[in-house]
């Protein structure tokens, strides 16, 4: 791998040893961000702020622009929030701050996290630092590009249907989506509340584990966070994987999977076997329905969550018309881009009178079957596996503009990540080499049992070692 710049460990060590100060490393990154402005990875950048000590003291990081940092603008990639100033800190942000990080700025993203290429940002698309004619993936494309181009040490992203893992795969970095309920969503601008999770995008598996140690845990401001004890996420990183049971779902290697991606993923599975894991073919029979379920559940929740953007209390407000209704109709027409409009409309339709049973209720039932597939694959009583592995995305990073006119084609790039969100499971994407034809990074996905990030990180760390 090319020079990846600082990891959390090297930044921490450098500051501790006096090789550079927190301020110096911050300024160095700010300079790099200026130099690589063309990537459009950042929407805003901050001045250096003094901070206390903590596990991450002085480590410069970036935050996806759908998370609130008190006193700073949070656009969520949308014109409707172009001038919106956050009144408080998101819990994940607050915890990073308490750990002593320096915030470099906020990263670009698909509008309201809706997209798989970061072409849907109202503030211009992000370029993939490895090939600027290609997309960085999305929706956390700005965060992934910033980490890949070493414009920060690490970044936070959010993942509703693959928005951390798919851009991490496209940019050749590590991205972890924690178990639903592991990290507080308080202060995350909501897209689909039963699916959204915040997670780290980093250069190494160990870094992802370190960030989880800071951001995970129960929060009184998010009732879906679980109160169970949070173990040290780094505890398994050095452990081997001898005898560990690895499941390979046959449904993840079907038609739409690109050959060079498939080759790299299969080679990585071989590495896991050589490291002592046992490989088992499994079946997740309802995988083919996951995307259809997702495109009912997610827009339904979107239509409810985005109802708050009405031009009354904050955000863009149209001055057209004479009555209150005109304010709503025009503010939303002027403020939202095409993809949020499309999804709000779809969700409104799915939830509208007479259609609820046929769409939303049906989808939640099939969602139960998708979860059951995973439960059975992981079931200890049925000789189940410890983790499930496969590709993160069916292709490497695609060209800008290639799929932007065809929503369904774009949606298909999340086909291996969406089932994981529907089942609430933790999953990581780590780079497993370059595609033989494109010479672009391929992402390897490792999916774990509910709240078993520990084993996911263990397998990821072993594969990372085997690959280098």
């Amino acid at each position: 791998m090319a020079d990846i710049g600082h990891t959390i460990e090297s930044a921490r060590e450098g500051i501790a040893a006096g090789s550079f100060s927190a301020r110096e490393i911050f300024d160095e990154y700010r300079k790099k961000i200026e130099e690589k402005k063309d990537l459009n990875a950042y929407l805003s950048t901050f001045k250096f702020a003094e901070h206390g000590g903590g596990d991450l003291a002085g480590v410069p990081c970036a935050i996806k622009d759908n998370m609130l940092i008190e006193g700073e603008i949070a656009t969520a990639g949308s014109k409707i929030l172009e001038n919106y100033v956050s009144a408080y800190n998101a819990t994940a942000v607050k915890r990073l701050k308490e750990a002593g990080v320096s915030f470099l700025g906020k990263t670009n993203m698909d509008e309201f996290a809706m997209g798989s290429s970061t072409e849907n940002s109202a503030f211009g698309m992000v370029k993939n630092p490895l090939d600027i004619s290609r997309v960085p993936g999305g929706s956390s494309g700005g965060s992934a590009a910033a980490v890949a181009a070493d414009l920060c040490v690490f970044a936070l992203g959010s993942d509703t249907g693959g928005s951390i893992r798919q851009p991490a795969a496209f940019c050749g970095v590590v991205g972890l989506k924690p178990t639903y309920g592991r990290v507080s969503r308080h202060g995350l601008i909501a897209m689909a509340s039963s699916l959204d999770q915040i997670g780290p995008i980093t250069k190494t598996v160990a870094d992802a584990a370190s960030i989880m140690n800071v951001i995970a845990g129960h929060d009184i401001f998010d009732s879906t966070t679980v109160s169970q004890e949070v173990l040290d996420f780094t505890r398994n990183l050095e452990k081997d994987i001898k005898g560990l049971r690895v499941g390979v779902p046959k449904e993840f290697f079907g038609g739409g999977l690109n050959k060079e991606v498939s080759a790299k993923v299969l080679a990585s599975i071989e590495l896991l076997r050589e490291a002592g894991a046992t490989i088992h073919e499994i079946s997740l029979p309802h995988t083919e329905y996951a995307l259809a379920v997702y495109y009912i559940v997610m827009p339904s929740e979107v239509s409810a969550n985005l109802a708050r953007f009405d031009g009354i209390r904050y955000g863009h407000s149209s001055q057209k018309g004479e009555a209150l209704l005109d304010t709503y109709l025009a503010s939303r027409a002027e403020g939202f881009g095409a993809e949020p409009k499309r999804r709000i409309m779809l969700g409104t339709y799915a939830l509208s009178s007479g259609y609820y049973d046929a769409y939303y209720l049906k989808a939640q039932k099939v969602r139960a079957l998708i979860k059951k597939d995973f439960d059975e694959a992981f079931s200890p009583s049925a000789d189940g596996v410890d983790v499930i592995v496969g590709p993160t995305a069916p292709t490497v990073a695609f060209k800008a503009g290639e799929k932007s006119e065809d929503p369904l084609a774009m949606y298909l790039s999340d086909i291996y990540t969406v089932p994981v969100n529907l089942a609430g499971l933790p999953a990581i994407s780590i780079p497993c080499g370059m595609g033989s034809e494109s010479n672009l990074p391929v992402g390897f996905q490792i999916i774990g049992k509910l709240f078993d990030e520990g084993t996911v990180l263990q397998v990821a760390a072993n594969l990372e070692r085997a690959l280098t």
Partner: protein, 100 residues
């Protein structure tokens, strides 16, 4: 296939004013997504209970004890109320609900 009337009805429910070009585009887009979603009809869900909470949480209760919320100061005032387009004192002014 959705009709023009369907699309207009959905847009009204969603409180988004669409241009005629958008109506055309969304009619096409939404219809093709809905066609794709039709595949769910193939799944037998006769005896399946719908899933609403993935980690099995039901109610997240806390003791019914008063706790401090936040105190309004000038800064919060500015951030919470001051971002409205039209403010009078502590109130947000909106256009008339009923048309004249």
């Amino acid at each position: 296939m959705l009709s023009d009337k369907d699309v207009q009805h959905i847009a009204t429910l969603a409180r988004i004013k669409l241009t005629s070009q958008e109506e055309e585009k969304f009619k096409k887009d939404l219809s093709s997504i809905l066609d794709y979603i039709e595949t769910l009809k193939r799944v037998d869900t006769e005896r399946v209970a719908p899933l609403y909470q993935i980690t099995g949480l039901e109610n997240a209760l806390r003791p019914d004890e008063p706790r401090p919320s936040f105190t309004m100061d000038e800064k919060l005032d500015r951030l919470l109320i001051g971002q409205a387009p039209d403010v009078r004192g502590h109130f947000v002014k909106v256009k008339p609900v009923l048309r004249k």
